[in-house]
């Protein structure tokens, strides 16, 4: 009987341990050299450390690859260094932002924030007095009213683009794109000129919601369009084959199939507008008391609360602003993560 020994698969393209050790040595050498350089020369600070390390590492890596594998490999190594530099520079701010908000925001957090409004307090009072419940309720109402306006319009636009596929698909796609580029302050000015000066003559939550819907419609429309595009045509054909009219097919087959995706679109739209500040400053009047009527009286909101506290500029008010930012960021994070989870579940099905 012939004994067969399974041959261990070889992967000649992978780096051997010796090569890996060498690459690591280059990395460690660059680290060490930059440390020494920063220590002995007048270059100081984190930035200097970062820059010196990057330059030394790139040069060492280039030389190492040039000697071991030639010019092409050396160029490849340089590109790799720059690519890693790029992604770290892109991610660094987000880490810093989240870190700062947590560190500074936690100081201002206490339960009173969620049970009091600012009726009896000014923003410069100690942080233990007053709260942002009016802002939370205000933001909630603004967002809900904006949703009621923009979700139907956004989804209708998406249905037009994917189901009806009429003559205006190209222009409407373009218009949605153009609308998503409308600066938020222009949306605010538009509502100011078209609604406030022409009809209502007063600030209210509702006009703020109108401006927010302008910003929300394109987000909802584009995300919904992507989602509806993923629904296979088989489903549409099956609906038609069963004798359904297009209306019945869309309403009872396509939209239910894309349910979770449409919910994602909605959540992303809300995340887009929850922290929108400029139109809120122009339109809502920013009250300090709980106001649950969107059609009457000034309405507070989280961005306005943060804005006002920040603009005053005393240490107490700035702590207040960071606490507000912390709450806002928490809301955006929750919305974003739930949107991600919904779409994850959809794609894994």
């Amino acid at each position: 009987m012939i004994q067969t020994k399974p041959i261990k698969p070889r992967k000649p393209w992978q780096a051997s341990p010796a090569q890996r050790a060498l690459s690591f040595a280059v990395f460690a050498g660059a680290l060490l050299a930059s440390y020494i350089l920063v220590a002995v020369t007048p270059l100081k600070g984190k930035l200097a450390y970062f820059v010196v390390f990057f330059i030394i590492f790139t040069v060492l890596d280039f030389v190492f690859h040039f000697v071991s594998r030639g010019l092409l490999a050396a160029k490849d190594a340089i590109t790799r260094a720059f690519v890693f530099l790029g992604i770290s520079l892109a991610v660094l701010p987000i880490v810093s932002i989240i870190g700062t908000v947590i560190v500074k925001g936690v100081k201002g957090l206490h339960w009173g924030l969620f049970t009091h409004d600012m009726k009896l307090n000014s923003v410069s009072d100690p942080i233990s007095q007053g709260g942002l419940v009016h802002a939370l309720i205000g933001t909630g109402i603004l967002v809900i009213v904006a949703m009621v306006i923009s979700v139907p319009l956004g989804i209708l636009t998406a249905i037009y683009l994917t189901e009806i596929r009429g003559r205006f698909v190209r222009p409407i796609k373009f218009l949605v794109q153009a609308m998503s580029g409308v600066p938020s302050i222009v949306a605010g000015l538009f509502i100011l000129s078209a609604i406030v000066y022409t009809f209502t003559k007063s600030y209210s939550g509702f006009v703020g919601s109108l401006a927010l819907s302008i910003l929300m419609i394109p987000t909802v429309a584009r995300t919904s369009e992507e989602v509806l595009r993923l629904i296979p045509d088989d489903l549409r054909e099956a609906g038609t084959a069963l004798g359904g009219t297009q209306w019945r097919t869309v309403a009872m087959v396509v939209v239910p199939a894309a349910r979770s995706g449409l919910a994602t679109a909605m959540i992303l739209g809300v995340a887009r507008i929850a922290g929108e500040t400029a139109p809120i400053i122009l339109l809502t009047g920013g009250g300090d008391t709980v106001n649950s009527n969107p059609f009457h009286g000034p309405m507070g909101s989280l961005p306005f609360y943060i804005w006002k506290s920040y603009a005053v500029g005393t240490p107490e008010s700035i702590t207040r602003a960071w606490a507000g930012i912390f709450v806002l960021l928490a809301i955006v994070l929750v919305l974003f993560v739930s949107a991600r989870m919904l779409s994850e579940r959809r794609s894994s099905k």
């Binding site: 520079l89 580029g181 222009v186």
Partner: protein, 334 residues
């Protein structure tokens, strides 16, 4: 289940439907409703233009070209305390140039970082890291601008001030880095860096999208011919994605031009054309509107509407170009 025998005789068929290509009534209603909803974007954009032009018209007419070439902003009153349109001056040239300056700095900083990040996400990152990083970048695009404003003011500005001093010290001979008065805070440079951080996620996600459409067969062909990763990127990915990069950059530029609150928090707005990016005096149309709005009289509001119209048209043009470029390049191979 009991079986029932159905004979053809005692079954009642529904009446035969007429075969037609004419849509039914319900479908006609459906199409009407959906098309109307879809045209809402046209309606809204049209109304924005109409109302801003309607309210800003009187100012635009009385100021003429001075509105975009002058840089004096002055509300004059006659002896009786009424608004005097002859003596009042509204010019936004300094603001327009400031807007361009800030956004161009932002783009110059953000574009290389974004392209390298997109390359990392598509061709360097292991799958699990790619998934996380894509989420992180998308999350950053969803951050509210006031967050960038506060963070920029309290955290970023001290560092950027230091970088600006370095730039001034070593590259001070370049005209735009010159400065007469050493005020480094709240400069267009700081605002540009904050804007860059805001548009990096936007550009990155567009460029990544375009890069990921690079035909796989060409990538593999390049590898099969012995290309290193960089040679592959240079020979296949970059030519394929060139339009996407340009389009993404334009889109980022449009976003940077319209940004209000973040710029307002870190920029010192001064009514004077200033090309020296490190000096703490700049302009920005959107922030100027916010700044002036608080204590503006009815006539000044009209001037702000006109400024809003200019900003709207500016971003519309930039976005249109971006859309055109992205659509022309995306998807099809060359």
């Amino acid at each position: 289940m009991s079986q029932t025998v159905i004979s053809a005789a005692d079954t009642e068929y529904p009446p035969k439907r007429e075969i037609t290509t004419e849509p039914r009534f319900s479908d006609r209603v459906f199409r009407g409703v959906v098309s109307t909803g879809a045209l809402s974007s046209l309606l809204i954009l049209g109304l924005i233009f109409f109302f801003l032009a309607y309210h800003g018209y009187s100012v635009l007419r009385s100021q003429g070209f001075y509105f975009i070439t002058g840089s004096n902003w002055q509300v004059a009153q006659d002896a009786a305390g009424n608004f005097d349109p002859k003596a009042s001056q509204f010019g936004i040239a300094a603001m327009l140039i400031g807007t361009l300056l800030c956004s161009v700095i932002a783009l110059a900083v953000a574009l290389p970082i974004s392209v390298f990040s997109a390359l990392f996400l598509n061709f360097y990152a292991p799958p699990f890291l790619k998934k996380i990083m894509v989420s992180v970048v998308d999350l950053m695009a969803a951050f509210p601008s006031i967050l960038f404003g506060l963070w920029g003011f309290f955290v970023l500005m001290p560092s950027v001030e230091y970088w600006a001093k370095l730039l001034h010290k070593y590259f001070g001979f370049i005209p735009i880095f010159k400065m007469e008065v050493p005020v480094f805070t709240r400069s267009p440079f700081v605002a540009g860096i904050v804007l860059a951080i805001m548009i990096i996620p936007i550009i990155t996600s567009i460029v990544r999208e375009i890069f990921s459409q690079t035909p796989l067969d060409r990538i593999q062909a390049a590898y099969a011919l012995g290309a290193t990763r960089w040679s592959m990127i240079r020979a296949v990915v970059l030519p394929f994605g060139r339009g996407g990069i340009v389009g993404g950059a334009m889109l980022g530029l449009g976003r940077a031009m319209g940004e209000t609150v973040a710029v307002y928090s870190v920029l010192n707005i001064v009514y004077q054309i200033n090309w020296h990016v490190l000096v703490g005096a700049g302009g920005n149309v959107a922030s100027m509107i916010l700044l002036k709005f608080g204590d503006a009289g009815p006539e000044e509001i009209k001037a702000l509407m006109a400024a809003g119209l200019v900003l709207f048209l500016l971003t519309l043009v930039v976005n249109t170009l971006a859309d055109f470029i992205v659509n022309r390049s995306g998807g099809k191979g060359r």
